[in-house]
């Protein structure tokens, strides 16, 4: 019993000991995060922070799907299959079915992270000049890319602004200072900048990127990639001379190659498309968008091209009659029995791009449709594909189009025909409006399922017209623009919602 009494005594003592040390008892620090204060003061931390800005290009909301598949679904490129029910509303241009809030959110989060890196460069201990230049250049390249993606989605293009009798909604909120304190996060209410101001900012960032960067791989921003992007930005802005000069700079660079013939097709079968001047890298299996929303799954029911009977993704969004017509695609049985999906392919014309389409499968009732195969798990794991943001071929089309607007029809036609040669298509002899139409048509063919068409229609103020489904969205229709996330409008008295929402 004495022993037990002692035990109780020691318990009491232990209790009082705890009493005495409770201040320190409340100190618990996280083990998988670091304090935001001074987080970016070492080179390794800045490298890691920059990786995160790149990584934000990867989700479904951005290059993982929406900037390609959703944009094309909104345009006149394809039709939906209802295999998983995805992209139907977009393809029907249903009111309120458009780029989702996540695209806005993720892009602005990335911009804030880039801003924080740029703001903090002066505090990095032990950084070399080269590192500082790279960090600043890549951060600005990425910031420009995110702003460009936001402004092309949420605002009208400088070349076609719809505003008869209504207020100009303007561009998008332009923020260039990072926020890491709650005070600043509470108080900053940024209005929409003018469209021009946004493009000016993109120009400035890309010019800095051009100045500061060399290339360390096409998955990272480079000077050449900045020129290439700038060429498209200038084209969208109607700044034709700039578009010409930047296209030329990009074409002259050593980053990326313009492929032709079969090499062009096999470029799409390589993990890194040699045409890429900048692409979003999907390096690990866990980065795969997966069976439901990846680009591959959105475009094709095939798992791979080796065996069409294997069950793959959904094949929700497939070429429409227009695109099938471009390449002479129709279903073709090439063997027996017909029930084997490997015994089916498509007819094709001489256009090498026709090789990028084939028949899908009947697994899960997909009904064997003609599908686009630009994304086929090339990274080596299911539904993992690096996503080209700018391919070098685009430079020719940008320059041709810009030259046309500059009145250099001869140069435009020559460049167009040279490009057609690369794709195995016959030359044309056109002038005036017809030439422009042909350049835009070539752009349509080249970038089908790469998310260009919606914006190309938008910058020319043209309606979206499709027969399957039967939709005609005039340029004056509010459905051309998506709603700005309502929470942002509700929480920011300076922010105007887009018309119709």
């Amino acid at each position: 019993m004495k022993f037990i009494n002692k035990a109780v005594l020691s318990i009491a003592l232990a209790g009082s000991f705890l009493l005495g040390s409770c201040e320190s008892a409340l100190q618990v620090d996280p083990r998988q995060s670091i304090d935001a204060n001074g987080a970016l003061t070492t080179p390794d931390a800045v490298d890691a922070a920059l990786n995160s800005v790149y990584a934000r290009l990867r989700p479904t909301s951005n290059y993982g799907r929406n900037l390609l598949a959703m944009a094309d679904a909104l345009a006149d490129v394809g039709q939906t299959t209802s295999n998983s029910g995805r992209l139907i509303g977009e393809n029907n241009n249903q009111p309120n079915v458009h780029f989702p809030a996540a695209t806005w959110q993720n892009s602005y989060f990335a911009i804030n992270e880039a801003n924080l890196i740029i703001d903090g460069l002066g505090d990095v201990q032990g950084a070399s000049e080269a590192q500082l230049a790279r960090w600043e250049g890549e951060s600005k390249f990425l910031r420009a890319l995110y702003y460009f993606d936001l402004v092309k989605v949420y605002s009208y293009m400088p070349t076609a602004i719809y505003q008869p009798g209504i207020i100009d909604e303007g561009g998008i909120p332009l923020v260039t200072e990072g926020i890491i304190t709650s005070e600043a996060a509470f108080s900053r209410q940024t209005p929409r900048a003018t469209i021009n101001a946004v493009y000016d900012q993109i120009y400035a960032d890309l010019e800095d990127a051009k100045r500061l960067l060399t290339s360390r791989g096409v998955q990272y921003g480079s000077g050449a990639a900045a020129s290439a992007l700038l060429s498209r930005v200038a084209l969208y802005r109607g700044d034709w001379a700039k578009a010409v000069s930047e296209s030329s700079l990009a074409l002259d660079s050593s980053v990326g190659v313009v492929l032709s013939g079969d090499a062009y097709v096999s470029g799409w079968r390589a993990p890194v498309n040699p045409e890429s001047m900048f692409e979003v890298r999907f390096a690990l299996a866990e980065e795969s968008i997966g069976v439901n929303e990846s680009l591959q799954s959105s475009y094709t029911a095939l798992l791979n091209l080796d065996n069409k009977n294997q069950q793959g993704g959904w094949g929700d969004f497939i070429p429409n009659a227009t695109v099938r017509g471009f390449f002479g695609l129709s279903q073709l049985q090439i063997g027996e029995p017909a029930s084997d999906n490997n015994n089916w392919d498509v007819t094709r014309n001489d256009d090498v791009r026709a090789q990028l389409y084939t028949t899908g499968n009947t697994v899960r009732g997909a009904g064997r449709q003609i599908e686009c195969t630009k994304f086929m798990s090339k990274s080596g794991f299911a539904y993992g594909d690096n996503v080209p943001v700018v391919r070098k071929s685009e430079m020719h089309l940008n320059r041709a189009e810009a030259n046309y607007h500059l009145g250099n029809e001869g140069a435009a036609l020559a460049e167009l025909n040279a490009f057609k040669g690369l794709r195995g298509v016959e030359e044309v002899d056109l002038a005036g409006e017809a030439l422009l139409e042909e350049i835009l048509l070539e752009r349509f063919k080249e970038f089908a399922f790469e998310g260009h068409r919606f914006f190309d229609l938008k910058r020319y103020g043209r309606p979206i017209v499709k027969t399957t489904p039967n939709v005609r969205v005039e340029f004056d229709d509010f459905r051309i623009l998506p709603p700005i996330p309502q929470r942002e409008v509700d929480g920011n008295s300076n922010l105007n919602q887009n018309r119709g929402y």
């Binding site: 009491a12 409340l26 931390a45 989060f109 926020i179 304190t181």
Partner: protein
């Protein structure tokens, strides 16, 4: 518990025995309840302090002085009896159960109190009331048992989550879960199971519970400080009783059954519905298009006539997918307990096995528990005690807990197109499934596998040391340890596993909670009229949680199902988190002649979760009571047997936020190109503190006609101030939100409990107990004068929040279908009709929190027979049910099956007044320039119901009869749960929480059981 307490009282009384010249009376005290001896009953000679206590077998012997002729027999829970001795020397007494609980001792914060003296709002649920219910966790069993306590199952997963809300919803973003305490150990009841829901409270066999006390008002709960804002549920487990070892064997077995199958269209019905939609949309070849939708268009269709195609559609068969994947399940429960002990040591040991299947195979729950409770009186001053609960349970997992997953049987069974055969003619699975749900869920269900396991230890060691006669030191050390393990295998033969050639996902999650409580108890009575007691305490709690999880893909064949066979590691992750709390607390109790009662408590709590500048908070409370029955003018009343007025006011806190919510952090995320990334994950808030509940409570406890009618009435006003609100940050500023103390929420309510003995005549007794609660919940204020939360306009001043603090229903009001053309219409903000409602047209339409709820229990007993009928009811919740919403689309947007009643109501001819639009196929099934049919409140449902929650018929054999075969007790019963529900709900069941899509609904349970004591 109460008997244990009585033992102490008994010892006290024994010492008070006076010795005098007298005669000796002996006898046995038994109870009518089980015919067994009542150990520890008090026998007093009336008018004296002479008394004794019965022994283990209920026997007593007492010396009665000359001149005394009446003995008084008392025992808690039994009716006090006075017996005139006369000339007898042997007096056997049969004591009846007390009609009511008012004489009981109940557990309050860090102590106990006679119910008569309780001045707060405390509800008590006895273990007997929930005994042998085929429910996996005791929280579920609280439904309808106590006023002010709203309980809703999240779904029908056995061992799944249960949503408990005590006095409404007090928080928007911090937790709304009450604090659960088992034997002094504060539990963490957060579920972290990755592959199903594993209710942490399911570790405890509900039959091991002696009683549950629910501290509802802030004043009662304030002794638990920053943990107590949502109320406190104190669970006391069964303890050993002095006496020879008593064994109890308890078993029941039975069946679970789906409460409902949805009435969906058959094969040709769906064909006709869809064909009609194509015709309505002016589409050519509607027959061919419909067959194509269904995946059964013949390849030579162009050579077939419309009539021939139509004949195919009309000849379609119907396959009942619901009845293929849903159906009866088994349930069984076995347990054996033994309790006993001598005057120094008592023990209680129990072991149990519980198994239950849901209505969806193979989803189930299987649990084994072992419980040990020991008490030892080491010497006159020291008492030591330990309670250890060991438990393991495992659950076969569903495809998903919720969601519109194509492979999920719970989602797809009712929505898959009904013409699809489940099996081919040769008995293999049909994999050519037409329609958007292109997976054979029966195959998927058969091939996938997964298990979630929860191992729990909850235990304590307690020392009680009597420093002085009226001063006791109590020291408690407890742990709450939990290991969660899970694996889920997506078979490569299933669509979701095919692309990756099989995926195995794994989870390991450890949670360790350590708690110690040191208390001093003191009491003193002055002149027998001023009674004073005090409590002083210190508490420390530390919790850490750690886990790893990962997934591998690329399996050689489907037979390889464990992760080491995977070719490619797909993901690997882990985490560590933790927090600590310290608390100092004290309380003082005073009463004057048990007539005027007052309690003051205070607690000073610190939590590592809060901002550096604001870690400590003070939580005071005061309770006062006036026991009117103790007043002279009522003492002799034959009508009023109990009457007490109560008032209380207190402050409690809520710290249910993330462990590092106050910190500004960069976390690891955003790897790119094979290199690690970091990004800002949260904004710092150095001033972040607890949210405070201030509750004002007025109550009345009453008893009439010898407590044949008893009950209580409470009104309260609960205000939650400094809400821990995730204040939205503009996304343009780089963050979503920041935890901040802003805003105020109010819950006002009335709670009524009434228990009556309606008939007690000739051995027939009819008892009723009824409770009723009204809750009025609303947001009082937000911040910056905002009328609604920018990111979540459902959170608005003057509007209620939902069950999870998620905001009121804020959407456009549906105006039905235009009778002229079948287009769906809504009201705009000016109450004009519109086809295209805007964000500005949204209005508030209630929330998911029921405003009225309660329960009604009726028990009839007659000569060993008993019948219990227990009803629960809820009213006032407005919810969306994702499953119903999909089916309400009537197959127009996606090729899903449809509800028959919806299809029948769809608009077909001008002038028809209905709420279901005309069937169309274009524009995703919607009219051009028209919002889609499920926009706004079109699919908003009322979740009201009255349910016969429990119906039990039992028979207890005559004790003298069963004693002949060596038994002390034998009872058999049949029981049914959820046998009948009164509701007009169109989905599976109105009782669920969450989106409702693909969730497993609750089941009916039938059991037959036996209880044997020996």
């Amino acid at each position: 518990m109460r008997k244990v307490l009585l033992l102490g009282l008994m010892l006290f009384l024994v010492s008070a025995v006076a010795f005098a010249q007298s005669r000796v009376i002996t006898g046995t005290v038994t109870s009518t309840e089980d015919g067994m001896g009542v150990p520890g009953a008090t026998v007093l000679v009336k008018g004296t302090t002479i008394g004794t206590a019965t022994d283990i077998d209920g026997k007593y012997s007492i010396s009665v002085p000359a001149g005394s002729n009446v003995l008084v027999f008392t025992f808690v829970g039994l009716t006090t009896q006075e017996v005139t001795i006369g000339s007898r020397t042997t007096i056997d007494v049969v004591m009846e159960s007390d009609l009511t609980a008012l004489s009981e001792v109940i557990v309050t914060g860090y102590g106990t109190q006679p119910k008569r003296e309780v001045t707060g709002a405390v509800s008590s649920v006895k273990g007997e009331a929930i005994q042998n219910l085929p429910l996996q966790s005791f929280d579920r069993a609280l439904q309808g048992r106590a006023a002010g306590v709203q309980v809703r199952s999240s779904n029908g997963l056995p061992g799944g989550a249960v949503n408990i809300r005590i006095r409404g919803v007090g928080s928007i973003n911090a937790g709304n879960e009450p604090l659960f305490i088992v034997d002094g150990v504060q539990l963490n009841n957060q579920s972290n199971a990755a592959f199903t829901q594993s209710n942490p409270l399911a570790f405890l066999n509900p039959n091991d519970i002696e009683s549950m006390e629910i501290l509802k008002d802030a004043a009662s709960a304030a002794i638990y400080g920053s943990q107590a804002a949502n109320g406190v549920v104190i669970i006391t487990t069964k303890k050993g009783k002095q006496g020879k070892a008593r064994f109890e064997f308890n078993a029941f077995a039975g069946e679970t059954q789906p409460m409902k199958y949805l009435d969906v269209l058959g094969g040709s019905e769906w064909y006709n519905m869809r064909k009609e939609a194509y015709i309505n949309s002016n589409q050519t070849i509607p027959e061919a298009r419909t067959l194509s939708n269904m995946g059964i268009l013949p390849s030579n269709w162009q050579s077939l006539s419309a009539e021939e195609l139509d004949a195919i559609g009309q000849g379609l068969q119907t396959y009942d997918w619901q009845r293929e994947v849903m159906g009866p399940g088994r349930l069984q429960n076995y347990e054996l307990s033994v309790s006993g002990g001598d005057d120094k040591t008592t023990f209680f040991l129990s072991g149990s096995y519980n198994y239950q299947e849901s209505s969806f195979q193979p989803v189930d729950f299987e649990r084994g528990t072992v419980r040990v409770s020991l008490q030892h009186q080491a010497n006159s001053k020291l008492n030591i005690e330990t309670n250890v609960n060991l438990s393991t349970f495992q659950q076969n997992i569903p495809f998903a807990v919720s969601g519109s997953f194509l492979g999920s049987p719970a989602f797809s069974a009712s929505a898959i197109l009904p013409h699809n055969a489940i099996y081919n003619e040769d008995g293999t699975f049909n994999t050519a499934i037409g329609g958007v749900l292109g997976q054979n869920v029966v195959l998927v269900n058969e091939y996938n596998s997964g298990l979630q396991r929860t191992n729990t230890v909850v235990g304590n060691i307690i020392g009680n040391y009597k420093i002085l006669d009226n001063l006791t030191f109590r020291s408690l050390f407890g742990i709450d340890y939990r290991l969660l393990q899970g694996d889920s295998y997506r078979d490569p033969r299933t669509p979701d596993g095919a692309g990756v050639r099989g995926r195995s996902s794994q989870q390991q999650d450890w949670r360790t909670r350590f708690i110690t409580t040191q208390t001093l108890n003191w009491n003193k009575s002055y002149n027998g009229v001023h009674n004073l007691s005090a409590l002083l305490g210190f508490e420390f709690l530390s919790e850490t949680r750690e886990g790893i999880d990962g997934a591998g893909i690329g399996f050689p064949t489907f037979q390889f199902r464990t992760i080491q066979s995977a070719a490619t590691p797909e993901s690997l992750s882990g985490f560590w988190t933790g927090y600590r709390r310290v608390g100092f607390f004290g309380s003082v109790n005073y009463d004057y002649k048990k007539k005027y009662l007052a309690t003051v408590t205070a607690r000073y709590d610190g939590s590592s979760r809060f901002g550096e500048n604001n870690r400590y908070g003070l939580f005071p409370s005061i309770r006062v009571g006036w026991s009117l029955v103790e007043e002279e003018f009522l003492k002799s009343s034959s009508v009023v047997s109990e009457l007490k007025l109560r008032a209380s006011y207190g402050l409690t806190g809520n710290d249910q936020i993330g462990n590092f919510a106050a910190r500004g952090l960069y976390g690891g995320a955003g790897n790119y190109s094979g290199n690690a990334g970091i990004r800002p994950s949260s904004l710092a808030n150095l001033n972040l503190g607890w949210e405070t509940n201030n509750t004002l409570n007025f109550g009345l406890d009453y008893g009439f006609f010898g407590n044949r009618i008893t009950g209580s009435l409470d009104v309260f006003d609960r205000r939650t101030k400094d809400l821990l609100l995730d204040q939205p940050i503009l996304w343009t500023n780089g963050f979503s939100d920041i935890a901040n103390n802003v805003g105020e929420l109010q819950n006002r309510g009335i709670e009524l409990e009434i228990s009556t003995v309606n008939i007690d005549r000739g051995g027939f007794r009819w008892n009723s107990s009824f409770n009723f609660s009204v809750i009025d919940n609303q947001v009082i204020s937000l911040y910056d004068g905002l009328e609604f939360l920018p990111a979540n306009p459902g959170i608005a001043v003057g509007q209620p929040v939902g069950r999870f603090g998620e905001g009121a229903v804020f959407t456009q009001e549906y105006a039905g279908v235009n009778p002229a053309n079948g287009r769906p219409m809504w009201y705009d903000i000016n109450r004009n009709i519109t086809y295209l409602p805007l964000a500005a047209d949204r209005i508030y339409s209630g929330s998911s929190l029921s405003t009225h709820f309660g329960g009604l229990n009726n028990t009839f007993t007659y000569k060993g027979f008993e019948l219990t009928a227990f009803f629960v009811y809820e009213y006032g919740a407005r919810i969306f049910d994702g499953q119903y919403s999909f089916l309400r689309e009537n197959g127009t947007r996606l090729t899903l099956n449809a509800l028959r009643e919806v299809n029948e109501r769809s608009w077909r001819e001008p002038g028809q007044v209905t709420d279901i639009p005309r069937n169309l196929t274009t524009n995703g099934g919607n009219f051009p320039r028209n919002a889609s049919r499920n926009t706004g409140s079109a699919n908003l449902l009322k979740a009201d119901f009255i349910r016969l929650s429990q119906l039990t018929v039992g028979y207890t054999f005559n004790p003298t009869l069963v004693s002949k075969i060596g038994l002390s007790r034998a009872r058999i019963y049949v029981q049914g749960l959820n046998l009948w529900t009164y509701t007009d709900y169109p989905g599976y069941d109105p009782e669920f929480t969450g989106a409702g899509t693909g969730q497993i609904p609750l089941t009916k349970n039938y059991t037959v059981g036996v209880q044997i004591g020996f």
